[in-house]
């Protein structure tokens, strides 16, 4: 596939050498952040133009504040992955100098990367937040869930998640899901009504117009809210770079023991390891997504700085989920089916 070259070509000399937006980069961002007054040209030439990151940030903050204004018991799903870290960062900005008026909820599969759990706990402590943990392992131990033959625990998260929502009577649940991740997620609303079983019915979604989000729901129902709906993987990384947001180290290239399975590099751990014919080797890898260790793969990479990661993603020929998430490969409608069950 050489489509990128074509796209670059059609952008023409202007696009390649000096797009108007590019030369304005430094001033444009400042103007949009409001530090330069109104006489500095922003991207696109107008002093009032917002860069795409500022527009996305402003929209996400608006969504957080709408939920704070209209719901009783919202909660932020927080896994310690990059999307939820960006989500929390936006929430902190939205309510500063006051505290974030939400608690956090982590659905712990029991197979999480230790570095990520450590990061999660440090973040919670740093910001004085309250963390709820819904544990897949506890559900398995109590006989309420059964381990799958393929060993992956990602689909098992739904039951503890819905249990935590019901027990804590959460009425709005923020998720870091993005529409660019997957074709069923591309159909997702920003405010997504879930029935009393937590289920998503794509044919009965409320139309969503302008910036008028409808959060009305009946007792027992709840609303999933996706403030990063309109962000792409690249937007998330550019925002992390701009805001200097700290991430767990596994997002950057490092040496790790891995073995190949289903076209992915998996890291052995308490969840399991290489089977017959599979062999562990040390490789220089990084993670594009962070989830359950049993189904989240690493990619070969030398990108050990944020700039290198951004360049690598922009050049990648694979989506982050296509590259590293086994659970989405189960069937053509795997995500839609899981979302119907109550997955986020």
């Amino acid at each position: 596939m050489t489509t990128t070259t074509e796209a670059d070509g059609t952008a023409g000399p202007d696009g390649r050498t000096a797009p108007a937006a590019s030369t304005d980069a430094a001033e444009g961002t400042d103007a949009a952040a409001g530090t330069e007054g109104t006489d500095t040209a922003g991207p696109g030439g107008s002093p009032y133009a917002l860069s795409h990151l500022d527009a996305l940030e402003s929209e996400a903050v608006h969504i957080f504040r709408e939920v704070a204004g209209e719901f009783e018991r919202p909660v932020i799903l927080f896994s310690g992955g990059k999307d939820s870290i960006v989500m929390l960062h936006l929430a902190l900005k939205a309510f500063a100098p006051a505290a974030v008026p939400f608690s956090l909820l982590h659905v712990d599969t029991g197979h999480n990367f230790p570095e990520v759990l450590d990061f999660r706990d440090r973040t919670v402590a740093e910001h004085g937040l309250r963390l709820h943990v819904a544990s897949v392992q506890e559900f398995i131990d109590a006989g309420k869930l059964r381990e799958r033959p393929d060993g992956t625990r990602n689909p098992l998260q739904t039951v503890p998640l819905l249990d935590a929502i019901e027990r804590n009577r959460f009425d709005a649940v923020f998720g870091g899901g993005r529409r660019d991740e997957e074709k069923a997620r591309a159909k997702e609303r920003v405010f997504s009504l879930r029935d009393e079983f937590g289920g998503w019915n794509p044919r009965r979604q409320r139309p969503e117009l302008w910036q008028l989000y409808n959060g009305r729901h009946s007792p027992g129902e709840h609303v999933r809210v996706f403030p990063l709906s309109n962000w792409t993987e690249l937007d998330v990384w550019q925002y992390i770079a701009r805001e200097k947001i700290e991430l767990p180290a596994i997002y950057y290239a490092h040496e790790r023991e891995v073995f190949a399975r289903n076209g992915m590099w998996l890291a052995p751990g308490e969840w399991g390891g290489p089977k017959d014919g599979e062999r562990t080797e040390t490789r220089r890898v990084r993670y594009r997504t962070v989830g359950d260790m049993s189904c989240t793969g690493a990619v070969d990479s030398g990108a050990d700085t944020i700039e290198a990661v951004i360049t690598e993603i922009a050049a990648s020929r694979l989506t982050e989920r296509g590259a590293t998430r086994a659970d989405d490969k189960l069937s053509e409608a795997a995500m839609e089916d899981r979302k119907r069950e109550g997955y986020f």
Partner: protein, 468 residues
């Protein structure tokens, strides 16, 4: 296994470099596509996505696999956007899908809306946030009823830029005269409805003419390709001339030792430029004060403008809460409990005279009653001149109907005309019983001043069905 070891990676790296360089300062264009069922909309969308690196190898592989298992030889690019099981099974687009792609110049959010008549509400949904709409026409059929409907929806929703993409030019011999006739007819029609800017482009989405690459065959066409136009169309108006509208979302009161007296009003500027020192009025109460500080997500600034999310601090300790609107005193709108609007009814349950509903306007939700439904657009039946007609006093509106309604609200609203502000002139009607979104509303006159008179004047008695 690596994300960078594909053969195309080296070639992609150059593009990536300019993409990341432009990245942070690039602007965002939100646009929507509209077209009838077989106009080739999926092909156009597929080509735009494909040629801008937005279809990655694993997605294309999945589409190729699915296409093969259905017995199709070529990959069906519609499968990229039809994300629901039911859509793939039926081969039609049911719901709006949002797509994201980027070029070195700009980031794009594409609302890919279904073309089917019964999903007019979904085009309304996609158009509500769009700064540009691409209306597709099959060159062999020219302007048809569905084209007029799409033009009318774009005009009604005040989409600032409309692109007419005359597709399948390869099937009419790439004839300039065919394009000129369709472009002329559409432009006259859309301009009469009040669409401010219309750009007509002859394309073949299948062959690739004028989508991202200039056509080698249509040398008579000197304008931009679709992508060039999307990259260069101006998206930011100067907000400094617009009146300030700041709907209060949430009151920030830390009550901490560091900030014992901080009382900030959080919101997103719906229009205008707000400056420290501005005299302001809070509606609907009418109390006045002065802006003492503006906090732009942690940074102290002298001015903020639409659509920035900020926190505003005032001189006086007023009783202000969610649902109030802060406006500059000099440009304060009137408040009213009587609302006249054009609406698109969205739900299968009809909206009837006498219905009690909730009305959500910016951050304020009030009770309302439907007092009258004076007219409804007849979207499918031609009037006596062959145009589209309206029904007087229909009594109720069914799903996908566009009509005029009159409402009485329980409390006063600071409602602008939709023509002046898409943000403060729009509202939703909600079922108070179960929270269902029923209707999308646009306050004030339906089309621009000229639309009511000039359509008739321009075409004589021929085609002025949107006299509304």
């Amino acid at each position: 296994m690596s994300s960078t070891d594909t053969p195309a990676a080296a070639a992609a790296a150059a593009a990536a470099e300019s993409l990341t360089a432009a990245g942070e300062s690039a602007t965002l264009l939100r646009f929507a596509t509209a077209g009838s069922v077989d106009d080739g909309k999926s092909t156009l969308v597929g080509r735009l996505l494909h040629d801008s690196k937005s279809v990655l190898a694993d997605q294309l592989e999945a589409v190729e696999h699915a296409s093969r298992s259905r017995g199709q030889e070529a990959p069906d690019l519609a499968l990229l956007t039809d994300g629901l099981r039911a859509e793939r099974e039926q081969g039609i687009t049911i719901d709006v899908a949002y797509r994201y792609f980027a070029t070195p110049r700009r980031r794009f959010i594409l609302a890919d809306t279904p073309g089917h008549v019964q999903y007019t509400r979904n085009m309304v949904t996609g158009a509500s946030t769009a700064e540009l709409a691409v209306v597709l026409v099959d060159a062999r059929n020219g302007v048809v009823e569905q084209t007029r409907r799409h033009a009318a929806v774009a005009a009604l929703l005040r989409v600032p830029h409309v692109v007419l993409a005359v597709n399948k030019m390869d099937l009419v011999g790439y004839e300039e005269s065919v394009f000129a006739r369709i472009a002329g007819e559409f432009t006259a029609y859309a301009a009469a409805l009040g669409v401010p800017e219309i750009t007509a482009i002859p394309i073949s989405a299948l062959a690739g003419d004028n989508v991202v690459t200039p056509s080698a065959t249509m040398d008579w066409y000197g304008g931009p390709t679709v992508l060039e136009h999307l990259e260069t169309v101006p998206v930011t108006d100067d907000p400094s001339g617009d009146p300030v509208r700041f709907p209060v979302q949430y009151v920030i009161r830390p009550q901490t030792p560091e900030h014992p007296d901080y009382r900030g009003y959080a919101g997103q500027l719906a229009s205008g430029v707000l400056r420290v020192g501005d005299p302001v009025t809070v509606l609907p109460s009418g109390r006045t004060s002065t802006v003492t500080a503006i906090d732009a997500l942690g940074e102290n600034v002298d001015a903020a403008w639409s659509p920035q999310s900020v926190t505003v601090l005032l001189d006086d300790d007023l009783d202000i809460s969610r649902g109030d609107i802060i406006v500059t005193t000099a440009t304060a709108p009137a408040v009213t409990q009587d609302v006249e609007a054009t609406v698109c009814h969205l739900h299968d349950r009809p909206l009837a005279v006498g219905d009690r509903v909730l009305l959500k306007h910016t951050t304020r939700t009030v009770k309302a009653i439907v007092k009258d439904i004076p007219s409804r657009l007849a979207l499918s039946e031609p009037d006596e001149h062959g145009g589209l007609a309206r029904h007087p006093a229909p009594g109720e509106l069914a799903a996908n109907d566009i009509g005029r309604i009159v409402l009485r609200t329980s409390e006063p609203l600071a409602l602008d005309a939709y023509a002046d502000s898409r943000r403060t002139g729009s509202f939703l009607l909600i079922d108070p019983a179960d929270g269902t979104t029923l209707t999308a509303g646009m306050a004030g006159d339906a089309f621009t001043e000229s639309a009511n008179g000039t359509a008739r004047a321009a075409d004589g008695a021929a085609d002025d069905g949107w006299d509304f």
